[in-house]
């Protein structure tokens, strides 16, 4: 299956591009994606899968999923 990944802010260092596609076998989880991107610090990170906050690394990926990876932030 193919997953669309978008990296924001400080997380952009984990990809050559901000937006790219990754291919996984069926049954892959968010942990597999983070492993592949070599993202080691996985505590202070916010991930949205199809607009929904993913709270656990074992959340399954699905074909065509949009995965947004960012650092928490604030603002006005």
């Amino acid at each position: 299956m193919k997953v669309n990944v978008c990296l924001f802010g400080p997380m952009q260092k984990y990809g050559d591009k901000d937006k790219f596609q990754m291919e996984f076998e069926e049954g892959a989880t968010l942990a597999n994606l983070l492993d592949r991107l070599k993202i080691e610090d996985r505590i202070y990170i916010v991930i949205l899968i199809n607009g929904r906050r993913a709270y656990d690394e074992d959340e399954p990926l699905s074909d065509g999923a949009e995965v947004l990876i960012m650092a928490p932030t604030g603002g006005g």
Partner: protein, 760 residues
């Protein structure tokens, strides 16, 4: 627009009774059996190396349960929303007087405080830097090894030099703004517990429970899911509890002792260690044509973020975005620096950088109007942003723009219409009256660059009521009441049938922050989506009960109805009963992501914004020319919040905002000299009291509905405290002819300005 039963009506706040009767339990009111009390050892110097920390004597004191230092922080010894540059417990260096070095847990608060005195710390004092412009020099002592300039923003558009050359009038000034204190009634405080499986629960007033959860987890090196954060209710926040306050200390205490723990900062400790509004020095040069058209604006802002960044980076970006006011300006040269010093830390504060630059630009506009002999309101109408205009950063105003509506409503207000009559009646011969006006806009949401998201849940309860969950905490702004109204109209039920859940990672999904005038827009939109999903689930059961196809079901207030046979209805309560019988749950979740501006400013995150709230405010002041004292007699506040979900709530925000902006304009400043805070309590930090309130604050709500908002709502929590400050200083000028370029306009400053004016 959808017809509503609750939205747009005055609804009594859901927390009003408990707050008024004093029965609401804030975090500092909570206690648990076997609880220990925490206290934090703060630095003795504003800048020093730590050579040695000896806790032996403190640990030997009877009643002391634990004494923790940097060695006891199991995860990252740092916190900070944007970058974790602030140590949880300092190891080798302190950078301001609020820096924490050790943490004591004891059987009583008194013992904990006594133990602090027994901790021996050997320091090697370092030279300090307390002036941000000096801190920018290569020769300055370094607060951080990475350099003292934390963030630099530079944006240029158009041909600034040509615009200045062709201008009919140019005004050029330097402005200074103070280090305002949030002054929430409840200082930073909280309690925490830990269970046998090492799951930690923290009750602590805050503004984003899910981000607090991640910051605590990072410091503890734990899975965030083992940490539950409850932020609601907060006894005031105003941005000052957006950053971590005592959450990590509470977690460390329970982790190391397996006992519940409580920390309540004293007011003095809160003043020294807590966040403030960024003091800024603002250079501004503004050009205008003979007809009042603003041609160019050159701005240089230096912002003092103190010892640590927190949100100082985004604040300077926001300030630059708002530094040309709510006006069309085609030629701009804008530059901002966020600089480290050894002063107290500055961070998020209601307005987020707009307050400082609005004071400057709104004074500039009045000066231009005076030089041109132009009406102060007309020059604002002439230059004010309209939908489709290009704003200062080059971005198009694509969403609703209500500035003109607020200016026109202000023009028609009693205060503006009767201004000459009111000014002509001072209370004594040595007093002079003036009227000032100012307007502004306020970016809503987190801006371009990072997805601004939020979720909401609605669940049908067995008794037919609905549990509504939005995690944006109730920090006093009234968002939970607004959520109840919005949910009731989307669900189509009574507000009495809503059970509101707020600010709790254990019972709500992540809805983001209660900051940035964003919570009602975000939570409301997520609730709309959640209600749609809930209706689908309700319709399935209702169709079965009524023996009609699901497509035939319509949702009315309190029941599901057959469209084809309207006498066939089933109440939500009946549906809930069937749900229980079947062992089912009926729940709707909604996930919302903010729309953003199409304009991308390469290298910047958080600017520009797509949505803005707008506001015009007017002040009538009386200046005592013998003492320099200024009294605000009356004020008019005309906000454009989009749809006012709860007009009474908007009025409350407006009145509170006017008084907060009045304090900023006239009295409030946390004075720090050589890194030492001098104004440590409300005896010397002068807040407006009930006796200082204007005798009348008229709020006129000027709704410019935002199509993308829930029922047309945007946000209004911040804008209400912004233009009132320059409205007041412009009124001082109207009264006695002196321009205030530094706030607060204390009696001393006004008196000095008056005396200078008398000198030929």
């Amino acid at each position: 627009m959808t017809k509503t039963k609750w939205v747009g009506t005055d609804v009594t706040r859901i927390d009003a009774k408990d707050k008024v009767c004093g029965t609401l339990e804030y975090m500092s009111d909570l206690s648990f059996p076997n609880m220990i009390y925490g206290a934090v050892l703060r630095s003795k110097y504003p800048h020093a190396l730590i050579k040695k920390i000896d806790t032996k004597r403190a640990k030997e004191l009877d009643g002391v349960v634990t004494v923790l230092t940097h060695e006891d922080v199991p995860g990252l010894n740092g916190f900070g929303i944007a970058i974790p540059d602030q140590p949880v417990l300092c190891r080798d260096k302190v950078r301001y007087m609020g820096d924490a070095i050790a943490l004591v847990g004891a059987e009583s608060k008194e013992i904990a405080e006594q133990a602090l005195e027994l901790i021996e710390v050997e320091y090697e004092p370092l030279p300090i830097v307390d002036d941000p412009e000096e801190a920018m020099l290569d020769t300055s002592p370094l607060v951080h090894e990475t350099g003292n300039i934390h963030n630099h923003v530079k944006i240029e558009r158009g041909d600034v030099e040509a615009a200045f050359n062709e201008a009919y009038v140019v005004v050029e000034n330097t402005y200074f703004t103070p280090r305002q204190m949030h002054a929430f009634l409840e200082p930073e405080s909280g309690v925490a517990t830990i269970d046998d499986d090492k799951n930690i629960t923290i009750w602590c007033g805050g503004q984003h429970p899910y981000r607090d959860q991640l910051q605590v987890a990072r410091a503890l090196g734990m899975n965030p899911r083992k940490i539950r954060i409850i932020n609601t209710p907060a006894g005031g926040a105003f941005g000052g509890k957006d950053e971590i306050t005592v959450q990590i200390y509470l977690a460390l205490l329970v982790l190391h002792t397996d006992r519940p723990a409580k920390i309540v900062l004293s007011r003095e400790e809160s003043v020294i260690a807590g966040m403030k509004r960024h003091p800024m020095k603002i250079y501004m040069k503004t050009a205008a044509a003979a007809d009042g058209t603003i041609l160019a604006n050159e701005v240089r802002v230096v912002s003092d973020t103190g010892a640590y960044a927190s949100l100082g980076g985004p604040v300077i970006g926001f300030a630059i975005e708002h530094s040309c006011g709510a006006y069309r300006v085609e030629n701009v040269r804008l530059e901002g620096f966020c600089v480290y010093t050894n002063n107290g830390v500055a961070g998020a504060f209601r307005g987020f950088g707009a307050n400082q630059v609005t004071f400057a630009v709104e004074t500039q506009v009045d000066m231009i109007a005076e030089k041109l002999g132009m009406d102060r309101l007309e020059i604002r109408k002439k230059n004010g942003l309209r939908k489709g205009d290009i704003a200062a950063l080059g971005h198009k105003m694509e969403a609703s723009v209500g500035l003109l509506r607020t200016l026109e409503a202000a023009e028609n207000s009693r205060l503006w219409q009767l201004r000459e009559e009111l000014k002509a009646k001072p209370g004594a011969p040595h007093k002079k009256r003036g009227i000032g006006i100012a307007c502004s806009f306020q970016g809503c949401g987190l801006g371009k660059g990072l997805p601004d998201y939020g979720a909401a849940t609605i669940e049908l309860l067995p008794n037919g009521q609905f549990a509504v969950g939005v995690s944006c905490p109730e920090i006093g702004q009234g968002n939970t009441t607004a959520f109840v109204q919005i949910a009731a109209d989307y669900i189509r039920c009574s507000i009495d049938d809503i059970v509101m859940l707020s600010g709790d990672t254990g019972h709500t999904l992540d809805s983001g922050t209660s900051t940035a005038s964003r919570s009602v827009y975000t939570g409301g939109n997520a609730l709309k989506l959640a209600a749609g999903n809930l209706h689908s689930a309700i319709s399935t059961l209702a169709a079965e009960i009524l023996s009609v196809p699901e497509s035939d079901i319509d949702i009315e207030y309190g029941s599901a109805v057959s469209k084809s046979c309207p006498e066939k209805t089933v109440s939500f309560k009946k549906i809930a009963e069937l749900m229980v019988e079947r062992g089912k749950t009926i729940k709707g979740e909604g996930y919302f992501i903010w729309p953003v501006s199409e304009t991308e400013l390469e290298g910047y995150v958080g600017i520009p914004h797509l949505l803005y709230s707008y506001i015009t405010q007017i002040a009538l002041v009386e200046v005592n020319t013998l003492t320099g004292e200024t009294e605000v007699l009356e004020a008019v506040s005309v906000p454009d919040p989009g749809k006012a979900i709860n007009p009474q709530g908007v009025e409350g925000q407006s009145e509170g905002g006017v008084v907060m902006g009045m304090g900023y304009a006239l009295t409030e400043d946390t004075i720090i000299e050589e890194g030492i805070t001098l104004t440590r309590n409300f005896s010397t930090y002068i807040l407006p009291t009930s006796l200082d309130m204007p005798c009348e604050i008229e709020t006129i709500i000027a709704e410019e509905l935002e199509p993308s908002g829930p029922f047309g709502a945007k946000g209004i929590g911040e804008a209400v405290c912004v233009p009132i400050s320059p409205a007041i200083t412009n009124a001082i000028h109207d009264a006695c002819g002196v321009w205030m370029k530094q706030i607060p306009a204390t009696p001393e400053r006004v008196y000095t300005a008056l005396k200078s004016k008398e000198v030929p």
